[in-house]
């Protein structure tokens, strides 16, 4: 796997605020990486550093072979960026805006205009941008980010303001790009959306990278319990079935559901015990820790660490 973005021990200080503190990671070709964290955790700062819009106080960054802090920009022809609150010159139409950006990337204008249809801007592309709603501006923002088959895509909160249908299309598009070898780094608050899609998650807290890995790796690291929900027939309202383990948290959810917090390695054992006890178990659900829970866990952990 070839790396496209390399961030080495980067610190960025704004006045007295340390927006990013000693962050290091490497992003490879074909990776779809979710960058998550609170507002002010340093997500946008990291992207701006990768673009050379700001320079690191310490550390080094390399993007597609360029050092953005030194003003090198050759690789930016193959880079797409969607800022958090994207805005365009209000006097131009969507098509004119897209054509302008296509020229800057030396992309054929006709091909660039097709992207407007791909993001569903369609007829609105002939209207001036100042008549656009937030969602339509976001669509135009996506269309320009996708110009020229980018090898690196930096998307800052890309799905805010998009309707569910377009969200789906959007994730399809970036999954296709990642499959072709593009590196996609996207920051978002919509953790449930990312859970199924991101191959790797980087969690930031107050400028520090607190976790980095695939969701499965993070689950292993976090050691959060998997919840097993069993629908059990014939139990009294507050009674626990006899096979329920003494050393794990069990609770009754409603009439006949028992929920057990199982440590990752005890899942199978607990299921065995439940099914071995006869046929009182009618249904079973296994819920691994969600990205939301992992995120909360890593934040707690980093807050407790000095």
């Amino acid at each position: 796997m070839t790396s496209t973005v390399r961030v080495s021990d980067v610190t960025k200080v704004f006045g007295r605020v340390e927006a990013v503190r000693g962050a290091s990671f490497t992003l490879g070709q074909g990776e779809l990486v979710a960058l998550i964290g609170h507002n002010g955790a340093g997500k946008t700062t990291l992207m701006k550093l990768m673009l050379g819009l700001i320079r690191p106080t310490r550390g080094a960054i390399e993007v597609l072979g360029d050092n953005p802090a030194a003003g090198e920009f050759a690789g930016r022809r193959q880079l797409g960026y969607l800022p958090e609150n994207v805005s365009f010159d209000p006097a131009l139409t969507g098509r004119e805006t897209q054509a302008f950006y296509a020229r800057l990337k030396r992309e054929p204008v006709a091909k660039a205009l097709e992207l407007l249809d791909a993001v569903g801007l369609g007829a609105a592309s002939r209207r001036r941008v100042n008549t656009y709603s937030k969602g339509m501006r976001q669509r135009l923002g996506l269309a320009q980010a996708l110009l020229g088959e980018p090898r690196v895509l930096l998307l800052d909160e890309p799905t805010t303001g998009l309707d569910p249908e377009l969200r789906q299309t959007f994730y399809d598009i970036i999954a296709r790009l990642a499959a072709r070898g593009a590196t996609v780094l996207l920051s978002s608050h919509a953790l449930t959306e990312l859970e199924e899609r991101a191959g790797r998650v980087i969690i930031m807290n107050r400028g520090i990278k607190v976790a980095d890995g695939s969701i499965d790796e993070l689950r292993r690291l976090a050691r959060l319990p998997t919840r097993i929900r069993l629908k059990v027939a014939g139990l009294a309202p507050s009674e626990m079935p006899g096979w329920a383990p003494q050393d794990a948290t069990c609770r009754r959810l409603n009439g006949h559901i028992v929920e057990i917090d199982a440590a990752p390695e005890r899942k199978i054992e607990l299921l065995h015990r439940a099914t071995a006890a006869g046929n009182s178990v009618e249904d079973v659900d296994v819920v691994p820790p969600t990205l939301d829970e992992l995120y909360a866990h890593f934040l707690r952990q980093s807050e407790q660490a000095p």
Binding site: F88, D89, A91
Partner: protein, 275 residues
């Protein structure tokens, strides 16, 4: 190439925003009214009308062209940063100096178009009403239009420098208005006051020259009012024209410096800026 793409977009936007139309109409309207009303004191008989027009138009230019130039340039950088469009533009494969130069060429094209067309209307009207225009006058007129564009270029560059340095648009606008007042109105008055007080005791001719060159509007005024013999007669500057050592090349160089220096500094400030 990038420079031209950005310049073309600036022109496109200026047409869309009616900047081009407004500036052209303003300059043409004032040029035409000066042409016809301004000739009243001299009458129309035996006077080279175009020379009179040059005198009055160049005085108008000193007020108006810097104002228009500062209006279009003061938010070129800080305004785009505030609106957030600069963030996206700089994520493209363009250098910051290319962005600045592209904007400069675009804005200069708009200004040049408005000046040529607006002032050209005055010549057209004179020719249409049957005034005699000889070659000398026409040359002086062309020089006036050309130097007006150069004066505009200087103030566009000054506007960029302000725009690259300040934090928000309001500040940029305030500073630009202040600069306009200073360079267009206050400087000359102060200079006159100092000269009157000094009575020629300590301010030598070379110091005075330096003082005149350190204000782009004075360089412009001298080009047009003393540069051409036929014009300087009407401007009441014939005496000065014969004694001054500031030749047209020197004055043009001064105007060019007033363009290139702020532009270079603006590029430097912009390249260091974080956004």
């Amino acid at each position: 190439m990038n420079v031209l793409i950005i310049a073309a977009k600036e022109v496109h936007q200026a047409i869309r925003n009616r900047w081009v139309l407004a500036a052209t109409l303003l300059l043409a309207g004032l040029a035409l009214s000066l042409t016809f009303l301004g000739s009243a004191p001299t009458g129309n008989v035996g006077v080279r009308t175009l020379d009179v027009v040059i005198v009055s138009l160049s005085s108008l230019t000193i007020f108006l062209v810097p104002l228009i130039a500062l209006l279009i340039s003061h938010d070129a950088i800080v305004g785009e940063m505030e609106r957030g469009t600069m963030l996206l533009l700089l994520s493209y494969p363009v250098a910051r100096w290319q962005v600045l130069l592209g904007k400069f060429l675009g804005h200069l094209a708009v200004l040049a178009f408005a000046t040529c067309l607006g002032y050209g209307a005055a010549v057209g009207a004179l020719a249409a009403t049957g005034s005699q225009i000889d070659g000398d006058s026409f040359l002086a007129f062309a020089a006036m239009v050309g130097s007006s564009v150069l004066l505009g270029a200087a103030f566009v560059a000054i506007g960029y420098l302000v725009s690259a340095l300040v934090r928000d648009r309001g500040t940029a606008a305030g500073i630009c208005i202040g600069l306009w007042l200073l360079l267009v109105l206050i400087y000359d008055m102060a200079l006159l006051g100092v000269l009157a007080l000094d009575q020629g005791r300590s301010i030598s001719a070379s110091v005075l020259n330096a003082m005149l060159l350190s204000n782009p509007t004075d360089a412009y005024r001298l080009i047009n009012l003393t540069g051409f013999a036929n014009v300087s007669t009407f401007a009441g500057m014939a005496g000065l024209a014969q004694t001054t050592s500031l030749t047209i090349p020197v004055l043009l160089t001064a105007l060019l410096c007033w363009t290139l220096l702020p532009l270079g500094l603006a590029a430097l400030a912009f390249s260091r800026r974080e956004l």
